[in-house]
Subunit: 481 residues, 2 copies
């Protein structure tokens, strides 16, 4: 809205690049006067809407229903599940006053909604016919972060927490849902061309109240890992606390088994960080707020013809794609910078020569190579094909980049040094003592054990624990966000 | 989700009818364990989404951009505008603690977002080229209500506050925007078939910090008025406080003039209350979560043919409309009750006779008359025509009902009695003393003066003040929600 410079620091200086692209590409305004709170610009909010409509569609298609539960949780409910409250009590905001009254029952601003939702699940679930119950909501949640905050990554108000909650007849049926949720998240991140690890978190570092936790992690351009989604099997831990029971086909009253899984706006942090370059955003075509920008190249005396031809192309493309005709007074170079910064996926330039030849000059945001296309060959199908090719290129490149940050170690030599640059794979047994030892000696955090080995990773699933030598699975160590 | 009874109290017992329809039609679960907080069921949330997509479209079409500002406002910003804070300080929730720390700067949970947004407007607005600036957000806001709370009407968490904020070069341009906003809200409520008054609020009872306030009010089935939207001209009151200035074409730095306007989920309270009947929801076709329900009437031995024919119809209609084929095991009567409660706009019954004759039996939710239609005449165009006819019928009926609650008084005789039943129009001058006097003597609240006289109201714009006799405009008195 105000005038901004389009220049970014090089992406190799990732922390500063990230800080500046968030502001300059108008994703978020980082000048809100409270630590850890940021403002979504119109452009950023549009990107958010496009990305979240993907996850919404995936959830709707798979029988999840959207709901909304209150943001305020009474202390009494919040404190019911002992493990859960232990995990969150240092991180929540407390509402203690209304007007000038002290509240009788203090309220917590939801850090996540288990304790808001499950007292109502108790009322909604009566019999096996009500199961499975699968709901989700996209809401603001709040954490009293004392660490360094960062837009989209570490926030005091997570503005866009997509949390799903499900209830099932048995541990096994809930486990099936855990797998379904993993599948949904894979499809979501694949569609964004974001590569990931699927990791089972250590027993001693799982979601407070869960039986076990599966996390999605990706690697950021500085070699640190970013957790971008979690799936929790809650077993009957919460249902016992909140008395969520159903009458089974055999007439017996049983506790439900539950799962919950969440994704926050970290998905957008990953999207921006993984694909962007020194010039700005690079976005897969179908989530780019501006998919196509048309830039007429105007020479004195020939403006009219060029503008007319550009408008024809524009009128056709805007039917189907988010298209901008940038006929502002700026020079073409300034327009290029601006739309590169904003990640317009496809650029179309039209000058007098193109008009004469019935052609347009096309370039993709990622490769930036220009080529000429006959205007009448600029079909919707061709553009969709280009879009899919671009997504594949971005995905391949992102996987290549991620691979460069991953190194396998079968002993501790050099591990600590490597962890200053990237992520390490080690074979590690599941004992907490070996986990602590490798953390202490490497300086990295143990993310957990790979649930599946990505096809593009050349590593064997089993080996000897790097600490005790026992037969072990493949674990991931990293500096984390 | 759990089993519920479909029976409602008669709508003539409005308070109890409202209470029960909200729960039984699965709009909101009212059993959340904190006063004034409720849970949106999947069905209710779908209705919300359909209604809000209408207002979103209207705002998008008219150049408003969607954004998101933080829910937490620092005490320092919140207290800057003196009138504003006076109006809200007894109604806000205070966050005083994070984890076990007392916060240095206390935070307010936004009751509305002027004081969150305007410090950023100061940064976004530099020159006349940035104006007009028109943004909106749909967010949860919070009020510490000490009065009796009620779902969708009086809440401690307003889950769905659509608030727009605009900035302009002059008082006059902002006033133009006030008119545009009124136009947008009229179109919104017309599309929902909800009649309204457009009223200028009394000077002494306007939005805290505004130059003046225009309100939309409708009349609920118990004769009380419900404010369902407000539009505020803020002049330069906030821009002076928050130093929002622009450089004009003449090079001078000037304060912007602002407007803001909001609609909450009260729009859904009105929708439910105004159109519903003893059997449940009646919804205009295009916001009904279920637009068409198909109910096969199954007789032994002929199930197959009827189901097959029903599925053919279903497969065709679901391409275009939100259609349910209710082939559950319940008896047809139970299905009728259920879908009447849920406001399915169009019901299609199909029995063996219809299959034989290639017909279906159609009925509309509002008139409930049944008639036969040839299946091949059940075109999308015909259904859209029916939908539009239904909306017009609902609108006409709602206006008729509203008229019954309105009575003009040219003296105080009987006014107090009438105000126990309905809404009164009186000519009233704009002095606070006459306003107070008529309120005291009638027991009603002065909503303000009609901005325009609806065509369906037979009243003259000007007359003598009911208290002092001076030349006056038409004012509205009511018991309010």
């Amino acid at each position: 809205m105000e005038e901004i410079s389009f220049e970014l620091p090089p992406k190799s200086n990732f922390s500063e690049w990230y800080h500046q692209i968030i502001q300059k590409a108008e994703i978020m305004d980082i000048r809100y006067p409270v630590k850890g709170l940021y403002v979504w610009y119109p452009f950023g909010f549009k990107l958010r809407q496009l990305v979240y409509s993907k996850i919404k569609n995936l959830l709707d298609e798979t029988g999840h229903q959207e709901v909304y539960f209150p943001a305020l949780i009474p202390e009494t409910e919040f404190k019911k599940e002992k493990e859960h409250i232990k995990g969150f009590e240092n991180e929540v905001f407390w509402i203690t006053r209304g007007g000038s009254d002290e509240l009788d029952v203090k309220l917590v601003l939801r850090p996540t909604s288990e304790t808001a939702i499950y007292p109502i699940f108790k009322l909604w679930i009566r019999s096996h016919a009500n199961l499975p119950l699968k709901i989700y909501q996209i809401v603001n949640t709040f954490r009293y972060e004392t660490k360094h905050t960062r837009p989209l990554i570490r926030l005091r108000e997570i503005t866009s927490f997509k949390e799903a909650h499900t209830a099932h007849r048995s541990f096994e049926e809930a486990e099936e849902q855990v797998k379904n949720a993993i599948e949904i998240y894979k499809r979501f991140y694949d569609s964004l061309a974001i590569p990931y690890f699927v990791i089972k978190r250590p027993e001693w570092d799982k979601f407070p109240g869960a039986a076990y936790t599966i996390a999605f992690d990706t690697i950021m351009p500085d070699g640190r890992s970013l957790q971008i989604g979690t799936v929790h099997h809650l077993a009957d831990n919460f249902s016992k606390t909140f008395e969520i029971m159903y009458e089974d086909v055999d007439g017996q009253r049983k506790f439900v088994h539950q799962t919950c899984y969440g994704i926050s706006e970290r998905c957008i942090a990953a999207l921006i960080s993984i694909h962007g370059d020194n010039l700005g955003l690079i976005l897969p075509f179908d989530v780019a707020p501006v998919q196509i920008v048309i830039i007429p190249i105007l020479y004195k005396g020939e403006e009219q013809k060029v503008l007319e031809f550009s408008r024809q192309i524009y009128d056709k493309l805007k039917q189907k794609f988010r298209t901008v005709l940038d006929d502002s007074e700026e020079r073409p170079g300034a327009k290029y910078y601006k739309w590169e910064l904003k990640g317009a996926a496809l650029r179309i330039e039209i000058g007098p020569r193109e008009v004469k030849e019935g052609k347009v000059i096309v370039s993709f945001r990622d490769t930036r190579e220009k080529f000429a296309v006959n205007a009448n060959e600029l079909t919707y199908e061709k553009i969709e094909k280009w879009a899919e090719d671009m997504r594949n290129r971005l995905h391949d490149k992102a996987k290549e980049n991620m691979k460069k940050f991953i190194k396998y170690f079968n002993n501790l030599n050099g591990l600590a040094d490597w962890l200053k640059k990237g992520v390490a794979l080690v074979h590690l047994c599941e004992s907490e003592s070996c986990g602590s030892e490798v953390e202490n000696r490497s300086g990295g955090s143990l993310l957990g054990w790979l649930v599946d080995i990505p096809s593009w990773l050349n590593c064997s699933a089993e080996g000897s624990c790097i600490v005790c030598g026992s037969k072990s699975k493949l674990a991931v160590l990293a500096r984390t966000y």
